[in-house]
C-alpha cells in the first residue's frame, strides 16, 4: 500500500507548491509584487537573513493569527530569509502586538534588553500604535512606544498578511537608511 503521505508529496511534485508564484499569474491583491520586493530588499541589505522575535504584549490574539498566516505556505515568509525565532537573543527585530498591558510591560522591556544590537522594533496592529480600543484603562499603558522605542508601525485590526509583508519591506528600507 502507498502511504497517504506519499500522495501529498506526489501532488506537490506534479502540481507545485501552494505558494503564490511569480510573474506567471500576477495576483490581484498585489501579494506577488510585494513578495518580490521584500525578497530583493532582504537579500540586498541583510544578506538573506532577518530574524524576528514576536512578543504579544497584550493582544487579543487576532494579530497572532495573521502572523501565523504569514508563515503558511501561501505567503511563506521564510522564502525571503525572514523567519521567526524562539529567543530574543537570536533576533534582529522584535515584532510586538497589542496594547502594552501593565502586567506585560516589564517582560517586554526585558525581552528588548535581551535582544542584541543592532535591533529594530515593529509595533503591529492598531493596538500596538496607541492602545486601540483598550487605551485609557487602568491596566493598559498604551502603544508599544510607551515602553520601548519603535521603528515602525504596521496598522490594521488585525493587519492582513499582505500588510505585514508591506510593513517588513518598509522596515528593510529604514534599516538601510540607518545603516
Amino acid at each position: 500500500m502507498i502511504p497517504p503521505i506519499a500522495h501529498f508529496f506526489f501532488r506537490h511534485l506534479f502540481k507545485g507548491a501552494f505558494t503564490q508564484k511569480g510573474r506567471v499569474e500576477p495576483d490581484a491583491d498585489g501579494v506577488v509584487e510585494l513578495a518580490e520586493a521584500v525578497g530583493q530588499a532582504a537579500r540586498g541589505r541583510l544578506g538573506r537573513s532577518l530574524a524576528i522575535r514576536e512578543v504579544d504584549a497584550g493582544s487579543c490574539n487576532a494579530c497572532e493569527l495573521e502572523l501565523h498566516a504569514v508563515n503558511n505556505p501561501v505567503y511563506d515568509l521564510e522564502r525571503f530569509g525572514i523567519r521567526f525565532v524562539a529567543s530574543p537573543r537570536h533576533a534582529d527585530v522584535l515584532l510586538v502586538t497589542g496594547p502594552v498591558t501593565a502586567n506585560m510591560a516589564e517582560a517586554l522591556k526585558r525581552t528588548y534588553d535581551a535582544t542584541p544590537d543592532p535591533k529594530w522594533v515593529v509595533a503591529l496592529g492598531d493596538c500596538g500604535a496607541d492602545g486601540g480600543c483598550f487605551a485609557g484603562t487602568y491596566a493598559v499603558l498604551g502603544g508599544v512606544d510607551q515602553v520601548i522605542p519603535v521603528d515602525l508601525h504596521i496598522p490594521g485590526c488585525p493587519p492582513s498578511p499582505k500588510r505585514v509583508l508591506a510593513g517588513l519591506l518598509a522596515l528593510l528600507e529604514s534599516v538601510a537608511a540607518k545603516g
Binding site: 497584550g58 493582544s59 490574539n61 501561501v74 506585560m104 516589564e106 484603562t137 488585525p158
Partner: protein, 506 residues
C-alpha cells in the same frame, strides 16, 4: 417545598429582578445564598459564569436536568460573600479575579492569592467604588510546591518561544516526567470591564469583538443577543441565518488550524502546512464576501453589518466543495500515520468526572463525555431549524480532542450547506431603541460556550457588561491533563486545549 426539584424551583426563595431577560435573575439574601451553595453539593447544576458588579456577585447556572439557565445574585454591602469555589472548583479563579477587580472577599476560599492582579496596576481593586493605592512592588507569587527526591522546577513564560500569547507555566518535573504544572495568567489583562462601562452599544460591540480575536464572531453574537434581549428586539430572520453562517465559517477556520498546529507540535509539519492552506482559503472567502478575514465587527446588535450579495452562495459552495475534499485527504493522512497517532493517543488524558466538575465545554468537554453545546441547549435561531450532530467521545486524550474537531468541521460544512439552501430574504438590521434593560446570552464558539451579560442605562449605553470565556473552565484541566506526561508533550497537550489567554485575562 423550596430546595427540592429544579434550579428554577429552588430560586423561588429569592426576589426575581423584573428587568432581567431572557432568563430569570434572582436576588438572594445571605441565608439563601448559603442554601444555594449547599444545594450545589448535590445538585447537577453546572456553573456557567460568575462575575461582579459594584457590590453584587452574580452566578449563572444551568440545570442539567432540563437545560434551563438562571442567574443568582448576592448583594454584599459589607464586601464579603461566601465563595462557591469550595463546591465548584471552576469558580476558584473567577472568585480570585472578582477579589482582584472589585475588592469583594470570597469567604471560605482556600486559595486567596491574587490572580489577575500582579501588583502592577496604578491602583488595587480598580473597579471598586473606592480603589486602594497601588502596590509598593509587584507581588511575589507562591507556586504550589511539590517536594521529593530529584524534583526540579522549569519556569516557562510569560514570553513563549512561538507566536503565542503570554502566560507563565511552572513545571515541577522529575527527570522527563511532569509532577505538577501550575499556570499563572493575567498578563494580558486589559481592563475590558472598565473599558466597556459607559460606552455606546456600537463602541462596546467593537471592544467585545476583541476580547478574544479567534472567537470574535461568537463574542459579537453573544453580545448582540444579550443587547437584543435587554431591549426586547428581535433581529430580522435573514440576519440570524447570516450570523450562523459567519459562526460556522469561524469554527471551521479555527478547527482546521488547530488540527494542523497540534500535529506540528508532534513534529508532523506537513499537516500544519496543509491546514494552513485550507484555513487561508476560508479567510479569503471571508474577506471577499464579508470584507474582513476574521469576520470582526460583522455581527452587530440588531442584526449584521454586511448582507450576503447575489452570487455569494455559489462562491461559498465552490469553496466548500474543494475544501471538503482536501480536508478528507488530510484526515486520512492523520489516521494513517502511526507515528503521529502514537504521539496523540493516550497523551494529555482528562477524566470525564473532572471535565464535568469543571463544567468544561467545547472540544475539551466533548472529548471527555461532556456533550454540551449552546447551539442545542438553550439553543438559538437558526439552529433549531438545522440538522447537526454533536460529537462526544470518552477517551479524553489529545487524539480524542482532534477527532472531535474533525467531526465538528464536517458538521459545520453540512450546516453551511443547509444555511445556504434555507437562507430567507429580507432586511438584515433592526433599529435599537435607546432605553434601559438587562440581558444575557450564550453563543457556541469553536472553543465552547461564550456567555455575555449586559446592563444598559437610560441612554441605552452599556452600564455594566461581563464577557465570559470558555477557557476559564479549561485552563485548570490542562494542569490535570499534563500530570504524568513528559515535558516534551506539553506543547501537544497545550495546543490540543488551545485555551484563550486574552479571553481569560480580560
Amino acid at each position: 417545598m423550596p430546595g427540592q426539584g429544579t434550579l428554577r424551583d429552588f430560586l423561588t426563595i429569592g426576589h426575581p429582578v423584573a428587568a432581567a431577560r431572557p432568563w430569570p435573575r434572582v436576588e438572594l439574601d445571605a441565608k439563601c445564598w448559603r442554601l444555594l451553595i449547599e444545594r450545589l453539593g448535590g445538585a447537577d447544576w453546572i456553573l456557567l459564569a460568575e462575575w461582579a458588579t459594584g457590590d453584587s456577585v452574580h452566578v449563572a447556572l444551568r440545570d442539567e436536568a432540563n437545560g434551563e439557565i438562571s442567574i443568582a445574585s448576592r448583594a454584599c454591602p459589607d464586601g464579603r460573600f461566601v465563595a462557591l469555589g469550595q463546591m465548584r472548583p471552576g469558580a476558584i479563579r473567577l472568585e480570585r479575579a472578582i477579589h482582584d477587580l472589585w475588592g469583594l472577599v470570597p469567604e471560605g476560599l482556600d486559595d486567596q492569592r491574587p490572580w489577575l492582579d500582579h501588583g502592577r496596576w496604578p491602583r488595587r481593586r480598580p473597579l471598586a467604588a473606592q480603589p486602594d493605592l497601588a502596590a509598593d512592588a509587584p507581588y511575589r507569587y507562591d507556586f504550589l510546591a511539590a517536594e521529593g527526591d530529584g524534583l526540579h522546577q522549569i519556569p516557562v513564560g510569560p514570553v513563549h518561544a512561538g507566536i503565542i500569547e503570554p502566560g507563565h507555566f511552572r513545571f515541577h518535573a522529575q527527570g522527563e516526567t511532569v509532577v505538577r504544572l501550575e499556570e499563572r495568567l493575567g498578563y494580558v489583562h486589559k481592563g475590558i470591564a472598565a473599558a466597556l462601562m459607559g460606552k455606546p452599544v456600537a463602541q462596546a460591540a467593537k471592544i467585545i469583538a476583541r476580547v478574544s480575536g479567534d472567537s470574535t464572531v461568537a463574542y459579537s453574537l453573544a453580545f448582540a443577543r444579550a443587547v437584543e434581549a435587554a431591549l426586547d428586539v428581535t433581529p430580522p430572520p435573514r440576519a440570524q441565518w447570516i450570523r450562523a453562517l459567519l459562526a460556522e465559517l469561524e469554527r471551521i477556520a479555527n478547527h482546521v488550524f488547530d488540527i494542523g498546529a497540534i500535529c506540528n507540535d508532534a513534529a508532523f509539519v506537513l499537516m500544519l502546512s496543509h491546514m494552513g492552506v485550507l484555513r487561508e482559503r476560508v479567510l479569503r472567502v471571508n474577506e471577499g464576501l464579508f470584507g474582513h478575514r476574521l469576520l470582526m465587527d460583522r455581527i452587530v446588535p440588531g442584526g449584521v453589518a454586511v448582507d450576503l450579495r447575489e452570487g455569494a452562495a455559489d462562491a461559498i459552495r465552490k469553496l466548500l466543495h474543494g475544501f471538503a475534499k482536501d480536508f478528507r485527504k488530510a484526515v486520512h493522512l492523520y489516521n494513517e500515520t502511526p507515528s503521529l497517532i502514537d504521539r496523540t493517543t493516550g497523551t494529555g488524558f482528562v477524566a470525564a468526572t473532572l471535565a464535568h466538575r469543571f463544567g468544561a465545554g467545547g472540544f475539551v468537554g466533548r472529548a471527555s463525555r461532556s456533550g454540551h453545546d449552546a447551539r442545542k441547549t438553550p439553543g438559538y435561531p437558526p439552529y433549531d431549524d438545522l440538522d447537526f450532530a454533536i460529537p462526544v467521545l470518552a477517551e479524553g486524550d489529545v487524539h480524542a480532542r482532534i477527532e472531535v474537531r474533525i467531526a465538528e468541521v464536517q458538521a459545520s460544512l453540512g450546516l453551511i450547506e443547509q444555511i445556504l439552501t434555507k437562507l430567507p430574504s429580507g432586511s438584515v438590521l433592526a433599529p435599537l431603541p435607546a432605553r434601559t434593560g438587562e440581558g444575557v446570552a450564550v453563543a457556541e464558539s469553536f472553543r465552547g460556550e461564550v456567555l455575555v451579560w449586559v446592563r444598559l442605562d437610560e441612554r441605552g449605553h452599556v452600564a455594566q457588561c461581563h464577557p465570559h470565556d470558555p477557557s476559564w473552565f479549561q485552563w485548570p484541566l490542562l494542569e490535570a491533563a499534563i500530570e504524568g506526561n513528559i515535558v516534551a508533550d506539553f506543547p501537544v497537550c497545550n495546543k490540543s486545549f488551545n485555551c484563550s489567554y486574552s479571553g481569560h485575562d480580560l
